[in-house]
Structure formats: C-alpha cells, structure tokens
C-alpha cells in the first residue's frame, strides 16, 4: 500500500506564512517564498537553510521561480511580490563560488550571518545573491510568475487581471512583450507548456486561458471553462507524459488510438480550484481538411481558425479534498499528481489504463484507491469520446486513482503548495527518486517520501 512518509522539515522554519517552494532545476536546492518578504533557500541534501534572499521587496513574496534555460553556472531566481513588482536575482555557482565551497565542506556549513539582516541597508550581495533587476508594471499584487523552458521569456500575473510577458534581452534587461487583459478577475497562476511557446493562466474568474503568439502579438487562443470557483493552479504535464502509461506494443486497439490522440495533442493541462475539483484538459488536435477543388485558400480566415485551439475536459480526478484545492504538481518523472489545499491534506494520484471489463486496476482493497472520477455531464457520442478519451468521467480509456493520502500534513494549518522534487539526501534509494515538498501556513517546508 503506497503511502507518504514525513522525511524532514526544513530548518529553521519561517515564523510567518510560507506560500510556495520551487526546486532548483539542477542543484539540490529549494527556494521558498515567505510572507516576511524574503526567500529562504534550503538545501535538499541536509534540509538546512543555505541562504536568504531579502531586501528587494516591500511586501510578502508570494511566488518564486527558477529560470531553467540558460547557463548552468548561474542561478537565476524570479520573485513575485504583493508589492506589485517582480525581482530577478542572480548568483554565480561556478567553481570557487558558493556551491564549490559547500561541496568541499560536505555541505554542512550554513551561513546565517546575513540571513536575518534582510539586506535592508542596500547590500547588493547577500549570501552571494545579487538583486539584478526589478520589474514594475503591474497595478496590484503579483500572484505568480514563471520562466519559459525554451525561450528567454518570463510571465507574471496579478490581481490586476492581467498577464504580462517579458522578454529577457541581455543580462538584466527585460522588455515587456505583451500585456494580456482578457481575464475578468485576479490571475492566480501562470505556467508554460513544456515544448511549445504556449502559456496557461488560471483566474479568480473560474477560467483557464491559453495564450500564444498570433503573428507578432500574443493573444488568447483557448478558453477553458468549467470550474465553479477560482482556479488556483495550472500546470502542464511533462512532454513525455504519455510514456508513463506503459509500452505501446502491449496495448489494445482502443488504447493505441488514444495514445495517438495524446501524441498529436501534446502535453495536457491540469487545474485545481476553489470548487474542490482537479481537472485534466486535453487539446483537440486539428484535422486539416482538404480544400474542395477550385476553392482558393483565403489567408485571413484560415489563419484565424489555425490560431484558436479547442481544449476539452478529459478527466476529473477523484474528489478527496473537502475545501479549496490550492495546488497540484505533476511529476516529470512518474506522471503522478499530488494535490493539497485548505483542508491540510496531501493526496497522490496515478493514471492507469482502465481494464477491459471495467474492473479497476490495482489491489482492489478499496481502502485508499478510488477508481474513476466524478460522473460527468451528459455525453452525446460515448463511443467516439471513449476512443479519444475525451470524457474520462465514465468509460474513459484511462482512469485516475488515489494512491496515497495524508491528513494534517502541516498539523491544523492550510497547505499552500506541493511540488515533486528530485531526492538529494543521503537516504536516496534509487536514481530518479523524487520527494514531495509541501509548504504551509505554519511557515514550515516539509519533505515527504513516497513509499510503495
């Protein structure tokens, strides 16, 4: 029976609310956004505070994100604050730098000297972090930010209902490329597609919007409606997510057809909401119809049709949470999804092929596993949808089941964020092992192992 085990709590914890933790793309580090206007950088090797980033913001730091593309020797962290600005921080990690020293000393040394000071007297370098640039523009609190994985772009979003896209030209020079104002309420989160230049945003207006470039301008190419409450978090699956389901040769006809659809559609999107549901959305790949003979292709009409995308709600994960779900994390390695929220639970789900006779996979002990999901709305053409896996509520080709659940993850406090991260401590059991990192209102960042 799979379960989550508490491995460690990062120390020292924050004394105010912590909102989110971001694992570094290559180093065993975690950056935690704190309401005390700082970011704490913890080590995933020994779970101790490695450095503190402060002095750049006047209000709580709500979100932080690492830049994934770019030079490996330099860490770049973006911070999003309630003071309506985003900060870009840089640190040199090359040999002889901080990381080199830590490795030599066995990773035990923690520098507290500048940690508490917060750099309010204007120190440029603090624990090696340099405050490179401040991005102003939003009218009110920034809720989230994200760097694009394969382009020099940064997206920020705010209570001012807009999403901004910035392009990094050279070091410390960011230019606003787009101000997207189609949401009708606060924009709570932004996330980039793993392989395409497509951005997703979730909003207080209960919708998810997708954005991409239409010629020279960014515009909204899809509107995903269906949630009945604020959408707190959106995330795309890994580009290779389809392979988590298993080898192609062993599949039946229906399953292979589904795999084909998935490969054409690209990475799916997951969203979670105030309405306590977690939904998976999939793009409907466009079939390019052949033009009837003699018809001239009209440039503008076809261009518009090509730009807009249709996405459908493919599945709803089994409903376990009893209060708003604040965050979901889709593992890059295993395809498992973890969720958390106001009820203080952490739940882990897996996607499996639905077995032919309708009996659910797995042990069937019924204790933790719950097959399928919530019964969806009326469906017109069940057969066609089944083949394309586009309803998933009943009769879908795959199903989501709960594989682990933990209550009171942060005692009685709400848990704001959960994320999968590569395991880096001494107890690591196998290559590609992941831990789950949860961040709560109690100021604590907790590390969990997923044990089968």
């Amino acid at each position: 029976m799979p379960h989550l085990t508490h491995l460690a709590t990062c120390t020292p914890p924050c004394t105010t609310r912590t909102w989110l933790s971001a694992p570094h793309p290559s180093l065993p580090l975690l950056a935690t956004a704190c309401a005390d206007k700082t970011v704490r950088v913890y080590s995933l090797q020994n779970f101790r505070l490695e450095s503190t980033i402060g002095g750049g913001h006047k209000r709580s730091i709500r979100s932080c994100a690492w830049k994934t593309a770019g030079r490996k020797e330099e860490s770049v962290l973006g911070t999003g604050s309630f003071d309506a600005s985003a900060g870009i921080w840089r640190r040199w990690e090359g040999s002889g730098g901080r990381r080199g020293r830590e490795e030599e000393e066995g990773g035990g040394e923690v520098d507290f000297t500048t940690g508490g000071a917060g750099g309010v007297d204007g120190d440029e370098e603090e624990d090696g972090w340099r405050f490179a640039v401040i991005l102003d523009g939003h009218d009110s609190e920034i809720k989230s930010l994200a760097f694009a994985p394969s382009a020099p772009l940064l997206a920020t979003c705010s209570r001012d209902k807009s999403v901004w896209i910035w392009e990094e030209l050279e070091d410390d020079n960011f230019e606003t490329v787009a101000v997207l104002q189609e949401h009708e309420g606060d924009v709570k989160c932004v996330a980039w597609h793993p392989t395409e230049e497509v951005l997703a945003s979730g909003s207080y207006d209960d919708t998810v919007r997708l954005w991409r470039e239409d010629g020279d301008d960014w515009a909204c190419c899809a509107l995903l409606a269906g949630h009945e409450g604020t959408v707190w978090w959106v995330e795309f699956e890994d580009g290779n997510g389809i392979y988590a389901l298993g080898e192609r040769e062993e599949l039946g006809g229906e399953q292979r057809a589904y795999v084909d659809v998935r490969l054409k559609a690209g990475a799916r999107l997951i969203s979670c909401s105030d309405d306590m549901t977690i939904r998976v959305w999939r793009r409907v790949p466009k079939e390019r119809a052949a033009l009837p003979a003699g018809q001239v292709k009209t440039a503008s009409i076809w261009k518009n049709r090509d730009f807009e995308e249709e996405w459908v709600e493919e599945a709803r994960l089994p409903q376990v949470h009893e209060r708003p779900v604040y965050c979901v994390s889709w593992s890059r390695k295993t395809g498992r999804v973890a969720s958390t929220g106001s009820d203080g639970k952490i739940v882990v789900y897996e996607e499996r092929w639905r077995s032919a006779d309708g009996v659910k996979n797995g042990g069937g002990n019924g204790d933790v596993s719950m097959a399928g999901g919530v019964t969806g709305p009326d469906m017109e053409d069940i057969t066609a949808k089944k083949l394309h896996g586009s309803d998933g509520h009943t009769g879908g080709v795959t199903e989501w089941i709960v594989v682990a659940e933990i209550d009171n993850a942060h005692d009685v406090f709400e848990v704001n964020h959960v994320v999968w991260a590569p395991r880096a401590d001494k107890g690591k059991r196998f290559e590609d092992e992941e831990v789950l990192v949860s961040t709560g209102d109690d100021g604590e960042v907790k590390i969990w192992t997923f044990d089968i």
Partner: protein, 208 residues
Amino acid sequence: MEADKDNANPTIINPSDLPSRRRSAPTAKRAGLFDALAPAYPSLVDGSSSPEPSSSEASLSSDEEPEEIDEQEVYDLISTISDPEHPLSLGSLGVVKLEDIAILPPTSPRSRISTVTVLVTPTTSACSLTTVIGLGVKVRLVNALPPRFRIDVRIKPGTSGTAGEVNKQLGDKERVAAAMENKSLLNVVNNMLATYQGQGALAQQAAA
C-alpha cells in the same frame, strides 16, 4: 434618501438585549493578537507561543483545551466590532447575530479541522462597506481562534444583491492576506476592532 448612507436610521438593539453569558470560557490563545493583523502563526509545538498567559490559561496547553469553542464565544468576539459608518457595534446593529453563527466539527475522525460559518447581515447595500465589515469579522476570528478553525464569513442570503461577489472576496485567502498588508485598509479595520470590550480571559489578554 441620503446617497452616502443607505441606512441612515438603522435599527439599534439595546446591548443588554444581546445574547451573552456571564463568564466566557477561557481558551488558549496565541501571542501577538493585535501586533499585526496579518495572521502569523508562531510554532505551537514548543508551547512557548504565549508570552504572558493569564492565570486561567497557564494550565492549558494550546489547542488541547477540553472546552469547546461555541457559538456564543464566537459571537462575543465579533459583536463588539464597530460598524465603519455608525458609532455602534455590529451586535447592536444586528449585523451579526448569534443564530447566524454555526460551528461544524471535523468531518472525519482523522481530521482536526472545524469550520466556523458566520452570516453577516449588512446594514447598507454598499458593496465596499459590506466587504470591510466582513473583512473585520474575518480578521478578528482568524486572529482570535486557534488555527484549527476554518472561518467562512458570508453575507446572509437574501440580504444583498452583491452577496456573491463579497462572499468570493472574503473566501479568498490570498486576497485577505494581501488586503491586510494594505495600510489604509488596515487602519480602517484596526479602528473597527479597537472597540473590543468583551469579558473573560480572552478579552483581558487582548486588552493588555
């Protein structure tokens, strides 16, 4: 009808007619209630969260008090909040009523979370004032009740056309947190909460 005050002549209830009890049950409280209205949760684990516990609380450990917090306790916490418009308390104005407070116990044996629901009856149809009143109630309860309580403050159905909007704002934890960092809003809420004059251990600590 005055444009500014939609409810220029509110019905005022005599304070002695408001529901109360002679002595509030003591409950363990966290430190720094009014230092900053943004909710801050010092660690409860080491038990050193309360710098000057009153004598009746000294023997109680946080979050393990045998007495349950009941609706009367919640009412006592919020009924003396001042209305931002009138020099009267929310209890006297009937904005908060004992019967509109509900406490739901944990939904399962493994959960330790209780939910407090407070329905607020606005005196005016002005959405922004109603939101401020709701915010005052929410902030008071978030700071005064132990963290195992989830607090839902909503507008009483049928009393306002903008109830949905206000409810959504009050239910949005991020918005409430950000609002409490907003100095001018903080001042308004502080003024509303400054008139708290309840009885019992809770009030003594608060007034100190």
